[in-house]
Symmetry: C2
Subunit: 259 residues, 2 copies
DNA sequence: GTGGATTTGG
DNA sequence: CCAAATCCAC
């Protein structure tokens, strides 16, 4: 049994206590973190060293991803050779020997404001590069799990009122198409298997009392390749974490594999 | 018996917990606060309303003074008619009916950087106006206590190494002379009665590990008029408060009157 | 609304 | 070093 989790924490320095609680509660084997918002050297020292290791791709102030994984897991960090994907600290690729599985931890560019052509162009280009990288892995007959914050509202039901997002970089049709193209490589979006449309959200904006009004969106996902899909026995979104003191605007979520 | 205390808290919104602890420990009848750093409307609601009242002279972000006093004390707030003293929220004058005593709560301008003529000139002018106000009270045969942060190192022994302060607005000779002229109105500096030179400090800079190296200065005082001097039985500086978590850079201090 | 960087004041 | 403001991104 293996539990793999993901969480956009919106600053690990502010949220490490919540992450500690999540680790204790869910006991994941692997936790993908996004938006750690710090440099590698600033990553707080909260992890139980006897239990977990961590690999960090951080940068100053913005973005930043990290993977916390149990000590007994043998991982290989794979270098990503893409100017676009490496220009900001938004991706990590690891290979798990024990599961024979590649895992991509992603924090997709937001792309707003939509009227800034640089922003949306970078997002589209970034999705293209993620597509190319994923394609290469899949064509080489390897298994792949992509987890993280995709900053896209793929399905109309992934928002209370989708019309409000049509003119936003998260609901933009070009972006949604890029995400769908990524899935069409043969990756299954697990939220589509385990929940019915509109059943869950993963993000509630801090503004406009979105949490109190349950005005959320679903933008955090796991995408998995066919051979491993059959091993997925469970998927949970931990909605409670949005109601904590000083919460992240995203909630953690996790899957369980029977391997 | 009456206890009157004073404390430059360096933000009441950050320090109200410490102030609460101080009130519980010392149980003063009156507490003069300086550098509350907020508007009246932002003053936190931490005071036990059944025990204390508060009068606030605040402003946005900088300076600001307040007086917390026991409910049974009858005070009159006296309007200060001085352009200079009222241009920034640095002074409060109250009259205590029960003790027949005027109390001035002061947060003197810092005056640095010393090479900015506006800053030091304002400080000197401000001291002149404080002198005039105090003189008026004293000449009218009323008793006066001035308490607070005078931002002056009057005595060479009030710093570990006074030479380091000679070129600073706190050790500047003109400023020291202004403070001495204020005392020469007939006010006794209680720290000179209860402690020997160099025995106590009231401020340790956050910078350069001043607290850890005990590199402090004495700049917070009570000045009292002759008739009330005979009633002062005790003076204490609460040095421990500098060692708390998230301390103010100043410590609280208090006097005890046998009336 | 929240977090980070930067600037200003001390 | 610390606190507040302003600005920026999301």
């Amino acid at each position: 049994m293996t539990i793999i989790a993901s969480w956009n924490v919106n600053s690990i320095r502010v949220r490490y206590g919540h992450v500690e609680n999540f680790l204790n509660k869910v006991d994941p084997d692997i936790l993908l973190l996004q938006e750690i918002k710090c440099m590698n050297s600033e990553f707080p020292d909260f992890i139980d060293q006897s239990k977990y290791n961590v690999t960090i791709n951080g940068q100053k102030a913005k973005y930043g991803v990290a993977i916390i994984y149990k000590k007994e897991i043998d991982i290989r960090i794979i270098q990503i050779k893409s100017q676009t994907l490496e220009s900001q600290a938004r991706v990590q690729l690891i290979y798990l020997k024990s599961l024979n599985l590649n895992i991509l931890n992603v924090y997709t560019p937001n792309g707003n404001p939509i009227n800034d052509p640089d922003k949306i162009q970078f997002k589209l280009k970034w999705y293209d590069e993620l597509y190319n990288l994923s394609k290469k892995i899949i064509l080489s007959k390897q298994d792949l799990l992509i987890g993280g914050d995709f900053n896209v509202i793929e399905n109309i039901k992934d928002a209370i009122n989708f019309q409000e997002w049509e003119n936003d970089a998260l609901g933009n049709l070009q972006v949604r198409t890029k995400f769908r193209e990524l899935c069409f490589l043969g990756l299954t979006n697990l939220s589509r298997i385990f929940f019915k449309p509109g059943q869950i959200f993963s993000f509630w904006d801090y503004q406009r009392a979105c949490w109190e009004r349950n005005d959320g969106i679903l933008i955090d996902h796991f995408l998995i390749s066919p051979k491993k899909l059959q091993n997925v026995k469970r998927l949970e979104y931990e909605t409670n974490f949005r109601g904590l003191e000083k919460p992240s605007d995203h909630i953690p979520f996790w899957l369980k594999l029977n391997i």
